[in-house]
Symmetry: C2
Subunit: 306 residues, 2 copies
DNA sequence: TATCCTTACGGAATTCGTAAGCATG
DNA sequence: CATGCTTACGAATTCCGTAAGGATA
């Protein structure tokens, strides 16, 4: 048993059982991969993959139980190397953050700036994606830290840490009638609305609020980020619902915003890491800077109790 | 990075940093081990071991953080092979049980007998030891299942499952005065007592009971197992306190027993496994047979929530 | 027929054990 | 001076990539 065999199996499962592709990602030859997998299967005495003729098409039942074990071993190997680097070169390395648009655009910049100043030798990578993509990037090891409001708590393999609370706000062009008089769900239901897509930035809460009130909101445009929403609100297409952090009176001069926390409730942005990861010292530092309530100890504790 | 390197490091830490000894247990040459360790240290860029001149004497701080990671990787490797065997040859393999004397002698026999009948192809190994030794054998992977009443819940790396409850009983030669009249702590404190050693079979509860009552018991002989205790009780050295399961009226003809659960409380025998172990099908079967209240699902659940 | 996996083969790199060297208690 | 780790070296093994073969959509 060796690590190359395990990597081959894991990558084969990830890349849809295409060994040619696996060979490319592992920077080796395709027959090599084929052999690695066969050798491991021989040693374990089981077939991991279903073969239709000469093609791999899926996991066998033994393969299904064995694959998570393989992934945990390889996670350990990754942890080992990270731990090595931690001691060898304290303040150099890479920090890979996956975040949704809202977070990347509005919440992260201060923490990122502070981090770059404090750890100039650490290469910072920021990946943007949907909440699900953020979660997948964590699980695959592509990202060290994930930040999102949605979806992230549902993954067993991740540890979610609450960072900060935020509310939505209603934005409309200056002088728009919705800005006058009390803000209610009934009032909003009469306007064409522009807000986030399903699965993004608290859209769930917005839908739930209208549904609970027995109202049908008319969402005329669903976008993945606040900048798009604000642009169409400026064009007069409707009233916008965005995260409060995304509205800046000094920048969005043509718009006016009204907090709508009372209508749509409070959202909690989560910072997530993969369970069982070894975290670099600077990773803890970033977490502390982004979510001042969290410290290394709190992170470790959250990771410890599954 | 390869498994032989990791094994060398783990074994070096276990065997008191004596590489010659490590080489023997790993069935390889001593220079080989030396090289494996150096190579891993080079690759990780850290020193794992403290070297006094040419001798290894301890773990460095990096070594301290790296060693648990290495152990988790190797546990994964063990799980992988066990999973392989599980599918390759369903009902063959080895089941290694570590138990204290009380358990091995009085509680295990029926389950062992049933197991041997049902899985004749599985080689059963029974190791006897103190509760701490039982725990250590589980942690080191020498044993798959551990059974004891004491100590086992205190290990973080183990999952303890309550199996059954039992009480102590007082044993004395037939006709002994302690057998007449009500049984109280005061009465017992007036007798020379023979019972278990510290750390064995509920001795803690016995001490606690006397202490809570403000009494000083005279333990004239502390043994590690009930057979020794009973032998000296038969010789008239004193009154015995043993686990009820260890007293059999049909076999111990010269003795009489009186339950003392009211005096010393109820003990719970724990079955323990190492956290994160892959368990063979027959291992689950043994657990179910030994503790009919437990099934595979219950075991998995207990292991899942840390 | 194009894609994709397996088998075959030969050169290169790695691995490992023996023997010798050296430091320490 | 006995124990224990390191270095040196050569043989054996293993590893891996190229090239050819065969099966499937």
């Amino acid at each position: 048993m060796n690590f190359q065999q395990l990597r081959s199996v894991r990558e084969a499962a990830r890349r849809g059982f295409n060994l040619t592709e696996v060979a490319n990602t592992l920077h080796t030859s395709q027959p090599g991969v084929s052999r690695q997998i066969r050798e491991l299967e021989d040693e374990l005495g089981i077939e991991i993959f279903v073969r239709a003729g000469k093609r791999l098409t899926g996991l066998t039942p033994p393969g299904g139980t064995v694959l998570p074990i393989i992934e945990s071993i390889l996670q350990g190997a990754g942890n080992l190397q990270r731990a090595g680097r931690e001691f060898a070169r304290q303040d150099t390395g890479t920090l890979s953050i996956a975040a949704t648009h809202s977070q990347a655009r509005y919440a992260l910049p201060p923490a990122v700036q502070e981090f770059r100043q404090r750890f100039p030798e650490v290469q910072l990578r920021l990946h943007q994606g949907s909440p699900r993509q953020v979660a997948e990037m964590l699980l695959s090891g592509e990202a060290d830290i994930g930040i999102a409001t949605e979806a992230i708590e549902q993954y067993d393999g991740l540890v979610a840490l609450p960072c900060y609370r935020w509310t939505h706000c209603v934005v409309a062009p200056a002088g728009h009638p919705v800005l006058e008089g009390p803000l209610t769900l009934e009032r909003l239901a009469r306007e064409p609305l522009i807000t986030y897509d399903h699965g993004f930035t608290g859209r769930r809460r917005i839908d739930a609020a209208f549904e609970d009130a027995g109202l049908a909101a008319q969402v005329v445009l669903a976008a993945m980020d606040a900048d798009v929403i604000k642009a169409y609100v400026e064009l007069g297409m409707g009233v916008g619902l965005v995260a409060s952090i995304a509205f800046d009176p000094e920048r969005d001069l043509a718009l006016r915003g009204v907090d709508a926390g009372a209508l749509f409730g409070i959202n909690v942005t989560q910072l997530a890491i993969k369970r069982g990861s070894f975290l670099r010292g600077y990773t803890y530092a970033f977490i502390e800077s982004f979510a001042p309530g969290l410290d290394a100890q709190a992170v470790d504790r959250a990771m410890a109790d599954a």
